[in-house]
């Protein structure tokens, strides 16, 4: 309850809070004591009365019990004397009067109850309100009532979830709570997500869930449509053979270099071989570009002296025109 809401009494009179009533403790440490002389006198009187009254009462009760049959017979004889018509006896008169009185009592009972209720409606608030105003009922309940037991008993008797769902508008509460907190941080700091996920996965059949909820067929068809599967298969099978051929060519090229080097040493040559072919500007097969050229947008590769190893000194024309050495 917000603190700024004014406190009202049961009649909705907000002015009742204008004149605060001083609360007194409901539990006094001890009752107000009488003067010792008065207390002594009272104690003496009570002792004497008890001493005298006890035998008197005992004797009286014994006499009553002994005289009870005689008294009962006497009363019966007086109420129903012999040789007297029943309508004229005292007993009949008493019975008749009793019946009439009963009828009157019953007829007046409802009115009396109603009148009593009206009296209580007026009297109880006028008495109870000042009393409650002067009693610290909260402290009284806290000190005198076993709140734990009370709450436990109440909770046992009621379906709290049902009550909350029916009586509480949860949406604004949850919204305000979520607005005021960083839920992500709270979850990350307070929740062992690994355990939660592991337990969730333990309790669910993920395969079955995926099969029932995911359209695997359409996904597979979409993937197959996106991927050129025949090309991949063809590439993977021809790649091995191409690697073998490339390796063979490279080995042969190295063999060329080794043989050339040996022959050149035997012939005491000091200059490198001139192996550039005249006029060759690239493959006849098709346009070939390196990745760098593709990215920079340059033209096709012009294989020529610029691609030659070891800085061959032969130009195309020179190599072509020089003839055999």
């Amino acid at each position: 309850m917000p603190e700024d809401v004014p406190v009202t009494d049961d009649r909705g009179d907000a002015d009742a809070t204008d004149e605060p009533v001083a609360l007194v403790p409901a539990l006094r440490p001890s009752a107000p004591a009488l003067p010792p002389a008065v207390e002594g006198t009272i104690d003496v009187a009570i002792g004497a009365a008890v001493t005298v009254a006890r035998p008197v009462v005992g004797v009286t009760l014994a006499l009553g019990r002994a005289a009870e049959p005689f008294v009962r017979d006497t009363v019966h004889l007086l109420a129903h004397p012999p040789l007297v018509p029943e309508q004229l006896t005292l007993g009949h008169l008493a019975t008749t009067l009793a019946g009439r009185g009963r009828l009157v009592r019953r007829a007046a009972g409802g009115d009396a109850a109603e009148a009593t209720g009206q009296v209580l409606d007026i009297a109880v608030p006028s008495v109870l309100d000042p009393v409650l105003d002067r009693i610290d009922l909260t402290s009284l309940v806290i000190s005198r009532v076993d709140l734990g037991r009370l709450v436990a008993a109440v909770l046992d008797r009621m379906d709290l979830t049902e009550v909350v769902l029916e009586r509480v508008d949860l949406e604004p509460i949850v919204t305000r709570a979520l607005d005021g907190m960083d839920l992500t941080t709270v979850v990350l700091e307070r929740v062992d997500l690994g355990t939660v996920i592991e337990r969730a996965l333990d309790t669910m059949d993920l395969t079955d869930t995926v099969r029932s909820r995911v359209d695997l067929k359409s996904i597979a068809e979409e993937v197959i449509d996106e991927v050129d599967l025949p090309e991949i298969i063809r590439g993977s099978t021809t790649g091995v053979a191409a690697d073998v051929v490339d390796g063979t060519r490279l080995v042969a090229m190295n063999g060329d270099e080794v043989v050339n080097r040996i022959v050149d040493r035997l012939l005491l040559r000091r200059k490198a071989r001139r192996t550039a072919a005249a006029g060759w500007t690239g493959t006849d097969d098709d346009e070939v570009r390196t990745v760098t050229e593709l990215l920079t947008g340059d033209g096709p590769v012009a294989a020529g002296p610029s691609t030659r190893p070891e800085g061959d000194d032969a130009t195309a024309g020179h190599a072509e025109g020089s003839g055999e050495s």
Partner: protein
């Protein structure tokens, strides 16, 4: 040359390994050419024996009861083999400049100006290669890696690895690293 005609949208990566790129267009050495020649000789030998087998089968079909394997003198095989070799080499030199062995080893025979040779030159070179196969090994001694046939006809056998046509979209090419 097709390199001079641009094909919009059809660009492809260089499939030649980086180690071999620098050798493209250079004359090949004796090892590469000997291996390529050995492959070609094996092919011609197979074709020669295949010719003999074909003739034997045809004779069997004509006379299955009194059939006997044909008995050819050895020089018949030589003549058939030489004929096949000259035809085969002429056809290869005059068209793509590659025999099967050359294609396997990434070689190409080019003419005087680095292009495809004339058919006459191709025939003479094929005959010379068939008659004097040992002339190939002169390229080990030559400073320009030329065989005897190359010296006489001013031809060259160069490294030129065949590159299959694999058009790639520019986006795909940009996403890949250099081979």
């Amino acid at each position: 040359m097709s390199a001079d005609r641009p094909v919009p949208g059809l660009k492809r990566l260089d499939p030649i390994p980086p180690r071999a790129r620098a050798f493209q267009g250079l004359r090949a050495g004796v090892v590469s050419r000997t291996v390529a020649g050995a492959i070609d000789y094996a092919i011609i030998a197979s074709l020669t024996l295949g010719t003999y087998a074909a003739v034997a089968i045809v004779l069997f079909l004509f006379n299955p009861t009194g059939y006997q394997f044909p008995r050819w003198p050895f020089w018949w095989f030589l003549v058939i083999g030489f004929s096949l070799m000259i035809s085969y080499l002429t056809l290869a030199f005059g068209t793509r400049g590659r025999t099967v062995g050359d294609r396997v080893m990434g070689l190409r025979v080019v003419g005087h100006h680095g292009h495809r040779m004339w058919w006459g030159v191709a025939f003479v070179r094929a005959a010379f290669c068939t008659a004097v196969p040992i002339g190939l090994w002169w390229c080990a001694i030559s400073r320009e890696n030329r065989s005897l046939q190359d010296l006489l006809l001013r031809t060259s056998v160069i490294h030129e690895w065949p590159t299959p046509v694999q058009p790639l979209a520019p986006k795909d090419a940009a996403d890949r690293t250099e081979l």
